[in-house]
Symmetry: C2
Subunit: 336 residues, 2 copies
Amino acid sequence: MTERLNRQVLLTSRPAGIPQAEHFDIVAQPVVAPRDGEILVRNIFLSVDPAMRGWVSPVANYSTPVPIGGVMRAYAAGQIEHSADARFGAGDFVTGQFGWQEFATVKADAVIRKVEDTTLPLSTALGVLGMTGLTAYFGLLDAGQPQSGETVIVSTAAGAVGSCVGQIAKLIGCRTVGIAGGPVKRQLCLDEYGYDAAVDYKTPDFAATLDTAIPDGADVYFDNTSGAISDAVLPKMRARARIVICGTASISSWDPWPSGPRVERYLLVKRARMQGILVSDYTARYPEAIRELSAWVRSGALRYREDILDGIEQAPGAIAGLYRGENIGKRLIRLT
Amino acid sequence: MTERLNRQVLLTSRPAGIPQAEHFDIVAQPVVAPRDGEILVRNIFLSVDPAMRGWVSPVANYSTPVPIGGVMRAYAAGQIEHSADARFGAGDFVTGQFGWQEFATVKADAVIRKVEDTTLPLSTALGVLGMTGLTAYFGLLDAGQPQSGETVIVSTAAGAVGSCVGQIAKLIGCRTVGIAGGPVKRQLCLDEYGYDAAVDYKTPDFAATLDTAIPDGADVYFDNTSGAISDAVLPKMRARARIVICGTASISSWDPWPSGPRVERYLLVKRARMQGILVSDYTARYPEAIRELSAWVRSGALRYREDILDGIEQAPGAIAGLYRGENIGKRLIRLT
């Protein structure tokens, strides 16, 4: 086993804004055998997430930035090859922050979830049944608190998180409005994800179509973008609106810190609430959410798309592509 | 009675920013006798509140703006002279939105509170036991949800609302930090309102003294100012912080809409919440709050200052003075 090589994607320089292929390098190191309490995971899918931009940024974030020369932090799904921890055995499928590499030798505590249901594709454990779906689920339901009959508007509405948000909101009886970039994604909102209305923010008449889509405003805004889209949506929020801040995809850099219209008066006059969310705050409730999300996926009530790139050599450029909006659905790297 | 004259402060033009004396005029009209379901109140105290700036603004607000030529909307406390409603009798002390005038003939439903406890000064029914104290009470406790041991930071900390917030936070076991303008107000924070630390935002070393006052950040920010003060405080909020938006005193005009550093990333990274509050959303819970606030005032645990101007002719310029920060404590107009 120690003869085998583990290809890893290392962060080689710190991007000022969105990480590009040139900020990474691929190296090969011997696979490390697990010691007591550790497991050796062969990664099958690597996740590509908008949040990874923050993980390499020197600007304040949830955690310390990935060090220069370190393996890129990433969620992954794989199979245990060797376990030195009683809770896991060889052959188990697991997800965790195993990094952008082919093999991960990690403490068993690094496992987020043992994937025991093998009737759904393993890739879903990183998407609709992984951090993506969980982010949508807790962000919408816990921070957004939508009520049946309310209007929920979603930015990056056809994206991995956004499409889940729109569908869950619809399932609980809300009117749903999606904001997406370009006619293809807009149509996907309507045809695939069941939004009651969808608006293309890239058209010159964005403001007017937004007015038409939410003539009486919106009660919940699930925001993945910040920037000009939010600036157009915020003035239209209704009294006691809930604005869920899940991501800031439209801001290419926070250094220097960008300015925008002050939000205080919108929040004050509407007694609205704006709240940032992080899925890992809900760890204790993952099993409940996974059960519910799985049931919806199985019944066809919750649809998802995947954008699968083949081979670890696709990883370095994959985040930048995400920010260019080139993917449809949850972006993953498949290792073979 | 119909022979008597009622002096009224009318809004005569719409201010672009903060209302000045020149935007008002004082006229005298005959006192109007109450019809069925109405009461005639002789106002004793008129309230001067920062929120009045919003009430005359054409920019989106809670309610329709005061019409040009209309009596200036205002809270007042007075005594009923004549009641044509079974719930009230002559001699009752009441508060309500009776307007900036000597006599108000209004529907009995306009009464916010019958002041039955006459052992505390009637003026307190507009201040520490009125909208001011209630705003502090519900804003801090309901939206801010401070826990014992947490740090609460307050802007306009020596002001009518701010001083209540600081003291209530202290009463429930928080560390309190006040931000006020000038050495006199800063000292008042420390000596009168029991803040653990106070910072003068008008000094050139504001940022450094703020760092010293909240070296580990703050859990709750009760914000009455927006603007540069908030821009300095927001980056220092701790994980799961609550930011209560109560006022925007430092913004002189919302037309054109001012810009500032985008807040989304602060909220996201800290999973913080920013929420606007309006006291009248809590009407059903006023009695509970008044009981608790009254007990604190009686015991000396909750101190307040008043800034009383004599005569209705002081009213037109009184809002502008508030925004210049010339008052210490709750500003009232006393009618004789």
